[in-house]
Amino acid sequence: MLAILRDLIRYNLEFRIGLFLVSIVVVMAALSVVSPYPAGDVYVVPPDLPPSTAHWLGTTSRGQDVFWQLTAAIRNTLFFGIMVAALSRVIALVVGLLAGYSGGWIDRVLMSINDTFIIIPLFPILILFYFVLRDSMSTPLLATIMACLGWAYDARLIRSVALSLKTREFTQTSIFSGMKTHEILAREHLPYVLPIVFSTTMNNMNWSIGIEVTLAVLGFTDINTPTIGGMIYWANQHTALVAGIWWWIAFPIGLVVMTFVGLFLLAVSMNEYIDPRSRLARMGGGR
């Protein structure tokens, strides 16, 4: 594992940049623990101060320190992304492996459900959920809803791999030796699809963070929990750009863009690493 990491850092520029960006984001999120101000409180510092040595990224019109507010916001946003990715990965793995391995009517039923989720227009559904749930809408609940809507593409991908694994001799031998279906899926097939799952996880986090920011900017989430989207929402509410409080909007956007680019680069380089041919070519052992 460490050797893989070392190789990736040594030979892969995208991975280096991605790792650097994501590290900054993670450090920011970790700093939220030592924040001097409770993230939910307002008017704890003088409002509308530009970036200075006392307040590195300035203060908001609501009297919050942008830097410390940002640490709490990126923590919640990252946590949200990880939660959606983890939950949807579990659904995608179960559905994809089972459908591909079982075939027949199980495959047909699961894939019909799967394709239904693929074509459902996501955004209106999420807004609908917000209007129905309103006050009970919280970050974990939204994450669960998103996970239930965001697994379908990857389940299809995993199913395609499982379809080919099903016909391999080791699967036949596993069946012959008396292994049960769940054992074959967990022990023999899961290791095959994990690399694919790793790389789609990053993309899925990007996707879910993007949706969350969009919903939050429009005010369709729990706006009292500080998130990146939530910060932009409040800045818009206080017409920050018209009032010239650019730092209230610029820094959250900058940070979320860093998150996106960082995760994307990690996914791309991971993808390339999984394919041994491109990996060797990059390491100079290809030809």
Binding site: E169, F170, Q172, T173, F176, S177, G178, M179, R187, E188
Partner: protein
Amino acid sequence: MSGAAEQAPVLQVRDLQAHFRTHYFGVNREVRAVDGVSFDVNRNEIYGLAGESSSGKTTLIKTIAGLLKPPLEMVGGSARFSFLPDWDAVGRAPPEVVRAIRWRHLSYIMQGSMNVLNPLRRIKHSFRDFAWRHLGGSKAEFDLRAAAHLERVKLDPSVLAAYPHELSGGMRQRVTIALATICKPEFIIADEPTTALDVVVQKDVLGMIRTIQQEMGSSVLFITHDMGVHAALTDRLGIMYAGRLVEDGETPEIFARPLHPYTRHLIGSLPRIGDTEQREGLEGTPPNLATPPPGCRFHPRCPLAMSVCTTTVPAMIETLSGHRVACHAVNPGMAA
């Protein structure tokens, strides 16, 4: 193997029929891949099955092992194992029973067994996955046992920690054989286990199969199209053609006195040292089993074909002691 003859056979196959049945777009097709095969495999012997590609060898052993998946169906007959006396075929027993006997009593070395090992699992994990449940005991005990068993196939115990790609083809093959034999099964089905190996490794592996089989006293059903391997390894030999057994008997006897014209061609095709003549090939190809020729299925290619061959299926008759053959030219007037 004279002593083995007194005991009851481990496997008795009687009139076994297995067909591939498909119905697509309103067209029913039935491919009679195995059609009325009968033979016995005795305790402590290696029974070879020979025949060209698509003669139904693999279908036959899949049926015997109960690996029936649509469209393959067992249509009739029986394949009874001595360790499964209550059921007349593995494929007809309930799944729990089948799960309990497989690997423990009946193991299977698959065709293309180079790929039996999951490339992403260490060898010891493959051992645990396949055999631990059948042997029981603690994990440490089992690993020791696996290491001891690997030594029997002349592999270092450190192989257990390796991934399959770190091993050579011959080593992988030996691991596969070790996997199939660790539970000391009474019956081992080996489907072309040495086809992908070069002759030196092949000789090694064949000797190993023989040694292990004799140590454990188990029976082996060995499938290959390579007559040379049959000559070197098997005790008795069955020749398949187009889904039917056409001849069986003790291997030296079959090589010395082949009766069926097809067997004669198979054996005649083997080169001998000092040969200068060009070997003669058999005209034609095996029949399409969806529409097999009536009567003896070999008659369109048979140099001895008579008019009775085109209409009547020849019976499998014990012509010489322990040597059965199904041919009108050898046993005139014996219809099945």
